[in-house]
């Protein structure tokens, strides 16, 4: 079961510059939202606020009827276990090989036996064609391989909500071809709420997909 995400009167300001304000958006359970805008328009900040990585400066982020700022820590931790984030900087753990990076949330939260986890990780690695570099450390991977690795890590826990920041950044043509059907699958999957921040909305153009443009004026 995916969960609904609601943003109520979200505002972000750095110094005297207002990045965005009066953001009132509801992303229904199983729905998808694309956040677009120019570089520096606050897409990543908004995405990370939605993902609960950054606390909202003002306003509320509500996951499944729980306000992230006021809900008890144990409730938020429970919700975090059901969601995943793909960071712009990939954020793979530098001392773990790619395979162990993808397996990390599964092993840490004991989501299956060792054989089950290894099988799940191998299948993700196979799908994203990362088998050749599965035991390499992140430092020896290309930008595209790191990006796909961090997407695989996010998908490993079968999240009910996934937030991806620039998921196609650094992907070559072939890797984009691998990503496209995966994206279609995620959007079509009603058991997963998808939020994507990108400055390349073309790849995500799809009929009926809800887009939030942060550029000239906030779309409410």
């Amino acid at each position: 079961m995916s969960f609904e995400v609601r943003l109520a009167d979200i505002r972000c300001q750095y110094g005297t510059q207002i990045l965005f304000e009066k953001i009132n958006v509801t992303i229904p359970a199983g729905g998808a939202k694309i956040i677009t805008g120019k570089s520096g328009s606050g897409k990543s900040t908004l995405l990370e606020t939605i993902a609960g990585v950054l606390p909202a400066q003002s306003g509320s982020v509500i996951w499944d009827d729980h306000d992230l700022a006021t809900a008890p820590r144990v409730v938020v931790a429970g919700l975090e276990l059901r969601s995943a984030v793909v960071f712009q900087q990939h954020a793979l753990i530098s001392y773990l090989p790619l395979f162990e990076n993808i397996a990390l949330p599964l092993r840490h939260h004991r989501r299956g036996t060792k054989a089950e986890i290894d099988e799940k990780v191998s299948s993700l690695i196979g799908r994203l064609q990362l088998h050749r570099v599965a035991w390499n450390l992140p430092e020896s991977l290309s930008e595209g391989q790191r990006r796909l690795g961090s997407i695989a890590r996010a998908l490993a826990i079968s999240p009910e909500m996934i937030c991806m920041d620039e998921p196609t950044y650094g992907l070559d043509d072939e890797q984009r071809k691998l990503f496209q059907p995966l994206f279609e699958e995620l959007v079509a999957d009603e058991s997963m709420t998808v939020v994507i921040a990108t400055d390349d909305p073309k790849i995500f153009s799809r009929e009926g997909l809800s887009i939030l443009n942060l550029n000239p004026k906030v779309e409410l």
Binding site: A77, E80, L81, A84, V85, F87, A91, S94, H108
Partner: protein, 269 residues
């Protein structure tokens, strides 16, 4: 106006310092709770092994060399001066108190601060800047439990072990130096050292290692976790080293004074 701004800046600096000490105490509390709550089961074993290898095993050689040199130095200074003062029979007491109770835990801690404490701050600081800490949190992985707790336990266990080896090498080295340079019997001075020891010397030196281990782990982790950019990492490292050494010295002095009184009542000198 200028005076006002100076006072304002001093005040802000002091408040900032107290806030950081308060946060360090908070981190220590969280680590302790994490340890108690998990009853040790939640400690990632691979992480703990890596920490013990890095802090303990990799520091062993430099620790042994420093221990040997310290033992020889104390032995040399003692023989040169104690004979003149007519108190050469106090050699054992001097070796026990200066090495077992003071120098071994202190010098071991200083070596570990410079080598492993600074490395821990850099490691966590880089992880913070590369968003790896955020990634762990977003996966609902408790950073204190996953990163700080193994370093905390590893630091304490490594310091106890390094302290033990330092003591052995320093005492044996000091006695051998006496034998070689002065030709004094190994057995006589060994028995002087054993006679000078009281039972509480061992738990006291272990207690100091535990305390210093806690200080190094908490201070180094704290300074790593508050890094905000790569530019700040070197500053965080020197702050972590200076704070750790200052805290260790500040604690070491009252601890030694109290122990001196306790030791006297237990039948020591």
């Amino acid at each position: 106006m200028r005076g006002n701004s100076l006072i304002l800046n001093l005040g802000r600096g002091m408040i900032g310092k107290f806030e950081s000490y308060h946060s360090m105490v908070g981190l220590f509390y969280d680590t302790l709770i994490s340890l108690i709550r998990g009853k040790g089961r939640s400690v990632p074993l691979k992480q703990l092994t890596n920490q013990i290898l890095f802090i303990g095993v990799d520091s062993l050689i430099i620790n042994l060399v420093i221990g040997l040199l310290a033992g020889i130095a104390i032995s040399y200074v003692s023989f040169e001066n104690m004979d003149n003062l007519g108190v050469s029979n106090q050699f054992g007491i001097l070796m026990v108190y200066s090495i077992i109770c003071e120098m071994a835990p202190l010098l071991t801690a200083v070596v570990v601060v410079g080598r492993s404490g600074s490395a821990l701050t850099t490691f966590l600081g880089n992880m913070k800047v590369c968003r790896e800490i955020d990634a762990l949190e977003s996966m609902a992985i408790d950073v204190v439990e996953y990163l700080v707790l193994p370093a905390f336990i590893g630091m304490i266990l490594s310091l106890i072990a390094l302290n033990f080896y330092f003591n052995i090498v320093a005492l044996v080295g000091g006695v051998f130096f006496a034998k070689i340079t002065k030709g004094i019997s190994f057995a006589i001075y060994s028995s002087q050292i054993l006679d000078a020891m009281v039972w509480s010397d061992i738990p006291f030196t272990i207690f100091k290692s535990i305390l210093y281990g806690i200080i190094i782990a908490v201070v180094s982790s704290y300074h790593g976790l508050v890094v905000t950019s790569f530019r700040i990492v070197p500053r965080a490292v020197y702050r972590s080293v200076v704070t750790s050494i200052s805290a260790i010295l500040l604690i070491s002095i009252p601890l030694s004074v109290v122990y001196h009184v306790v030791r006297s009542t237990l039948g020591g000198y």
